[in-house]
Subunit: 456 residues, 2 copies
């Protein structure tokens, strides 16, 4: 009999898992349940669609019809999973099913790709018309529609989505204020000295910032008219919460699955879930709902990135279909393109290193992305973070006018190999051609600075 695989969630993780399960088992019955109307799109694209660089249809890779026809994967959209059961009674009877839209569906393997929920602070007024989040195509369309009658926009949260969105909206003529609780932009993953130049760049483009300020209330008479923070009122027509994502563990909790230290699902390298410390043979999880292991030092970390979701989905899907694939620990490289600037990072930031109790030393270098004598070279600053005791490189961050991505991928591989700053300097090589690089990359100069500082 064909294996029944149920996937809950249709984001990057869920759809990768479904496709991967199909590759592993051509016969399986694969069904995806999602509350969304669309599947197979990258929410990271929303800021650029709002700016007009693409459109809503253009950012959707495949439709449910395409999945049905090309991959024999059934997708039930706008369908909330109400309950999930995975029980073995004392008499040995096994009950494995989910309930959705009033119907019961049995499964052999269950894949939880329930993603994250945008965190909205529990404050007054967040139910007013004019309050938005940025997560789905429908969120994006709702923002686009409301923007037509809005001039002043407040974005709550200065993470990468908040910043990308801020510049997009300024570029289409809106008056944008970002309100951030911490004292820096991109507070969760970038260090302040690398984030500050990005904030300055956005300010130069017209984005206003209110820092060290929580949004404490949304006010308005029937619709958003202002937000309040630390006793001040900021008039606005709409508020977009880009305040981060929390793992959506509702179904997981009903199944009694173990939650990790960071509030997300604990999983094995096979991406199987645990229940009371025991590995579940038939429940897998992937995407923003899980907690990962750090590739720098053993320990938990979150990796709520599209790239991680896709990679996890491939492993969870293959294993749900009977294979034995493995998901490794993560470095979580990230990059954000904001106007003419790119900011990127990998491994541990100073904040994460401190949370891990690692004593750090840093190195930094500034230079150009290409040969000085080739026209168009852009400025670049590279920061590397080392472990004071072992001299291992544990993190890197780059802010540059171009080509941060490849350099961060390079550093990701180097850091994952366990290189010390000193060994990196012996081993590191970079490809050189005047229009794309310097004969000795700024990345290497940054590590040289780190090695010098480690000596002291």
């Amino acid at each position: 009999m064909a294996r029944k695989i149920i996937v809950i969630g249709s984001g990057a993780a869920g759809m990768s898992a479904a496709s991967s399960a199909r590759n592993a088992d051509p016969e399986a019955e694969i069904t995806v349940f999602t509350e969304d109307t669309d599947v197979a799109y990258s929410p990271c694209m929303i800021p650029w669609v709002l700016e007009g660089k693409s459109d809503w249809d253009g950012m959707i890779m495949h439709t449910p019809e395409w999945y049905a026809k090309e991959r024999n994967i059934k997708i039930l959209t706008q369908t909330k999973v109400e309950h999930a059961v995975n029980d073995r009674a004392k008499d040995g009877t096994v009950t494995k099913n989910i309930v959705a839209g009033g119907k019961t569906y049995e499964y052999d393997s269950l894949i939880l790709a329930t993603g994250g929920k945008v965190f909205i602070p529990p404050i007054e007024g967040t139910d007013l018309p004019g309050v938005f989040v940025v997560r789905t195509v429908n969120d994006g369309k709702a923002i686009e529609s409301y923007l037509k009658k809005s001039d002043k926009v407040v974005i709550a949260g200065a993470g990468v989505i908040g910043l990308e969105l801020a510049l997009s909206l300024v570029n289409i003529g809106k008056d944008v204020t970002v309100i951030e609780m911490m004292d820096q932009v991109i507070p969760r993953i970038a260090d302040k000295d690398m984030a500050d130049p990005m904030q300055a760049y956005l300010e130069s483009k017209g984005v206003k910032f209110v820092m060290k300020a929580p949004v404490q209330a949304v006010k308005g008479n029937g619709k958003v008219e202002s937000v309040e923070s630390l006793g001040k009122s900021y008039p606005c027509d709409m508020v977009i919460f880009a305040t981060g994502v929390r793992a959506n563990t509702d179904i997981a909790k009903e199944l009694g699955l173990d939650i990790g230290q960071l509030g997300a699902l604990a999983v094995a390298p096979t991406l199987q879930c645990y229940r009371k410390g025991r590995l579940c043979p038939d429940i897998f999880a992937c995407g923003d709902v899980i907690q990962c292991q750090s590739a720098v030092y053993s320990g938990p970390t979150m990796s709520q990135l599209g790239s991680s979701a896709v990679k996890e989905g491939r492993v969870a899907g293959a294993n749900a279909a009977g294979q034995k694939s493995q998901f490794g620990p993560v470095m979580s490289p990230w990059v954000s393109v904001i106007g003419d600037k790119q900011i990127a990072g990998t491994g541990m930031s100073l904040g994460l290193a401190s949370w891990y109790g690692v004593s750090t030393v840093t190195g930094k270098a500034a230079g150009l992305t290409r040969a000085r004598y080739y026209p168009g070279a852009k400025e670049m600053t590279v920061k590397v973070i080392g472990d004071k005791n072992t001299h291992r490189i544990i993190g890197a961050q780059i802010i540059a006018g171009e080509d941060a991505t490849g350099r961060i991928d390079w550093m990701t591989a180097a850091i994952a190999s366990g290189a010390t700053a000193e060994q990196f300097l012996v081993d590191a090589e970079n490809a050189y051609c005047p229009p794309t690089s310097q004969v000795r990359d700024v990345v290497i100069s940054a590590v040289e600075d780190l090695a010098k500082n480690l000596k002291q």
Copy 2:
């Protein structure tokens, strides 16, 4: 007494060595001897200067006067070193000096950065006016001047310099024919299946190719009028030999230094030379004149790249000034930008792997440089080469419309870490943002294809 350091050669290696020696020893007397008139420039830039994207002064980083003033390094330009001595007589008398311009200069440490000589085949007519090589600023200026009265140009050799030059000259309206002995362009470092699309691209831009054809004679009455190959005559006004570089070991041989299997200077990881199998305490070498060790498998390899020269120069210079720095084995990543295309590689090509006796399996994937739904994404093909027995990834090559460099640097670090194809798939992560990358990079798909092929 101040340490006397003599550097022979003012290319990337020689000038790096001189600067590095200065950093290591602020008191040393450092003198650079060069036959060139200019120092501290990147010969890789010549094609773009000929095309008008920069000028001769613009491609020179620093003048001899700058070195004298800013770094207290004396440079004797247009000065050929005629002899070099490094003798220890039976009575213990040590003689260490060089002779240049009729004068004798003593040294404590000698750094050989004598570079390479462009190989010109021993055929008729290479002394005719209209025959050029591409090595120095003066070579470039001579070509520029002669181009004013030339329409038809033959370039002998389809390596990266030959190809970059070919497109530059087509772009300024010349009729360009490349004549290559092998059956593919970039024959020394790229595989044929990756090189062929670059040849096709250049053909689409108007460059003509004659393949599997050695240039056998240059003909002309008082100046170049044609070249001959395999019984055919190709009329032309000038011929540029871009036929590769041989280590310039003249001085090294006079010093009795050991030459390696590949015809270049054998050196220790400290970049000290050997004489009759013994390490010389006071002679160092760097740049195109030395033979390197491969970082993939122990064994000799050439790494005649500007990036390698700079790195070697830093080690040789520091050690000549009394430090103990180490030059590691090389992956030799390279990249060439030719019009709208980039071709890059790292580690072993199929040719080099075969020379090493490694049985290979390959993987390949095509895709886009950025998210499909972000405007401007370019096509990209990635090839990876694996060792059939160990499953280690041993090489990678990319041809792409943009951003090959960072990906090759990434693969360089991954290959150097010794990763198998299977382990790479567990570990590899790439930073994602729609304007710069795909959520799962084509590099990873190529390794997945390799892993699949290794299984068979």
